[in-house]
């Protein structure tokens, strides 16, 4: 894995949100450092997990990398088809064609699909927006990708409400992959699903990764899922990466007290292994602000 080139290099990335005072004159009174001086690489074909609690900045970090949010400072070097590009500073106009190469899968399969569009329109929309296909070719590509994610071609005439949570998540995946991206950011992509459906979607994501040589950034709070599919894991706490390690090394031997606390709080599915949350770490000041 280590001999591969990095697809993404993040250097000193920051995303700060200003807080303004109430009243007629809005003065900036404080900043929230949602992502604060984060640096890491993501190798080609790798799955990087970003874990942390709500408010730790993991989603903001992923969105800033994709330039869905404008970074405050820092660099994001992306190995695009036409060469190495700094996503953090590139002009909006030049960004649009690059969007084909990086796609996102969202958490909530119910709110991320437009209820008034058919599945075929939803999945085909990226191609229409980027003017890559129309007519028969568009339809063929929609059918092809729907079949790849385990749906049937007749499904494209139906609306999202006719599908279950797992099927909707497959539609979301199809919409992301129809662009043949190299990078896919999955933000809590399996969190809302039942275990059995979750297992199917995880298998699907892994199959598609092999087939299309995808690189994943997998944002999640479910640590057992992260352990299963990620090669490396970054642990975020208050906007900073406190530990980043190969998955097994991190789970076997967490070094940072926050990682230790996070791992100790996972309930084991074996009733003979009692959960012992590390309160000592909590009391020594590592409690996430509640």
């Amino acid at each position: 894995m280590s001999d591969r080139k990095p697809l993404i290099e993040v250097k000193q990335l920051k995303k700060h949100f200003p807080i303004f005072s109430q009243g007629f004159v809005k003065r900036q009174i404080d900043t929230v450092k949602a992502v604060d001086d984060v640096s890491f690489d993501v190798m080609q074909g790798e799955t990087l997990g970003i874990v942390g609690e709500s408010g730790s900045g993991k989603t903001t970090c992923a969105r800033t990398i994709l330039r869905a949010l404008q970074p405050t400072s820092g660099e994001v070097w992306f190995e695009a088809n036409q060469g190495r590009i700094n996503l953090a500073t590139i002009h909006e106009r030049e960004l649009k064609p690059l969007r084909q190469e990086m796609q996102m899968i969202f958490q909530d399969p119910f709110s991320s699909l437009n209820p008034r569009m058919t599945v075929g329109d939803i999945v085909g929309e990226p191609l229409v927006i980027h003017k890559l296909a129309k007519g028969k070719e568009l339809e063929d590509r929609v059918v092809e990708i729907l079949e790849k994610v385990g749906m049937q071609s007749e499904h494209r005439m139906r609306y999202p409400h006719a599908f279950s949570g797992g099927q909707r998540q497959r539609i979301g995946i199809a919409r992301a992959l129809i662009m043949r991206p190299s990078l896919v950011v999955a933000d809590e992509a399996v969190s809302a699903l039942d275990v059995s459906v979750q297992a199917q979607v995880i298998n699907l994501l892994e199959d598609l990764q092999d087939e299309f040589k995808l690189t994943y950034i997998f944002v999640a709070h479910d640590l057992s899922v992260v352990r299963h599919i990620c090669d490396r894991v970054a642990v975020m706490y208050k906007g900073k990466i406190v530990e980043m390690e190969d998955t097994e090394a991190l789970f076997e031997n967490p070094k940072h007290p926050y990682t230790q606390m996070l791992l100790s709080a996972i309930p084991s599915p074996d009733p003979d292994i009692k959960m012992e949350p590390r309160r000592d770490l909590v009391e020594s000041g590592w409690l996430p602000e509640d």
Partner: protein, 323 residues
């Protein structure tokens, strides 16, 4: 369930419950012939996927099933610590006893704390309302008890927090408020419907510990509804596995999780990502079941050591039961 006779002291018994929903497409059976018992002071975990009927069963206990749904058969018997048993399903919709049961003897923690709390009333008002509805105490006394309860669930500075609104609390703190509301009348049965699903693992660990402590403290029986097997393993004494409105397997927590007998339970457990299947494809319920059809309705059969499973006699005779 247990060879020890004192262990069979039930707080609640659900017998052959059937709940139906009349829809335009016809009658949907949400809960079909479900029976389980909850032991006093113990935790019963009800596991299953969405749509398996686990929440509908719980709502029936409080008679919260709304039209077009109705309880079409069976009975739910509540055995108070003192006094005669109450048949909840036989009570009239407007019976005073029903109001005493709801939030008094039996109370519920809901999944989503933001929707369970009113945004326009202070937290203190909402907790006091629960006390004043069920007990004949002064406002002052109710407030004192609310402060005490907030302190017990681990909210710092309860006197100040009492005057705040739910939006001023974080997710974990809100869930603590909901728990405080549920426990303030010292219920004999606590129904927790996915109380930690929306929370981070660290907060989840705290809430699970809290429920356990308060349960030991008050001797309440807990019905814990969840789809997280990890949580079940940590909190439950007994487990009932539900599938499509039926209970397919029942037993104590070690029996069901360590030695699952029903193919559906096996599939459910196999689908959890763990070290055993690291780096390989995850088994799904379909891949575990294969061609096996588990949709035939079968009654639960009794097995040794108080276990029950919904399989045919032929299938049962082939089982190797280790626990």
């Amino acid at each position: 369930m247990d060879p020890n006779p004192a262990a069979n002291d039930f707080a609640l018994s659900i017998n052959n419950l059937r709940v139906t929903f009349a829809t335009e497409e016809g009658l949907v059976v949400g809960v079909d012939d479900v029976s389980y018992q909850v032991r006093r002071g113990k935790t019963m975990a009800v596991v299953g996927e969405s749509g398996s009927g686990k929440s509908v069963t719980a709502f029936s206990i409080l008679r919260l099933i709304q039209k077009p749904g109705k309880i079409a058969g069976g009975e739910i018997i509540f055995y108070p610590a003192s006094g005669a048993p109450i048949n909840i399903t036989a009570l009239n919709e407007k019976d005073d006893l029903l109001y005493k049961l709801r939030g008094g003897y039996i109370s519920m923690i809901f999944q989503e704390p933001m929707t369970a709390l009113s945004p326009v009333h202070t937290v203190g008002n909402q907790i006091c309302e629960a006390i004043l509805l069920h007990e004949d105490v002064t406002n002052h006394e109710a407030e004192r008890r609310a402060v005490e309860m907030l302190g017990k669930v681990g909210i710092p500075m309860p006197e100040q927090r009492l005057k705040q609104y739910p939006h001023e609390f974080s997710g974990g703190m809100r869930q603590r408020v909901v728990i405080a509301m549920a426990l303030v009348c010292k219920p004999e049965i606590l129904i927790a419907d996915e109380p930690t699903t929306a929370l981070d693992v660290t907060i989840q660990a705290q809430i699970l510990e809290l429920i356990k402590e308060l349960q030991d403290d008050m001797g309440a029986a807990v019905i814990f509804i969840t789809h997280d097997i990890g949580v079940v393993a940590q909190v439950a004494d007994d487990v009932a596995v539900m599938y499509k409105g039926r209970v397919v397997e029942k037993g104590n927590v070690r029996q069901v999780l360590k030695d699952p007998l029903h193919p559906y339970t096996k599939g459910l457990l196999a689908a959890i990502p763990s070290q055993a299947n690291k780096g390989r494809r995850l088994p799904t319920i379909d891949s575990v079941l294969g061609d096996l059809n588990i949709d035939t309705r079968l009654a639960l059969s009794d097995l040794p050591n108080g276990r029950q499973v919904a399989l045919t006699q032929e299938e049962i005779s082939k089982l190797q039961i280790t626990l």
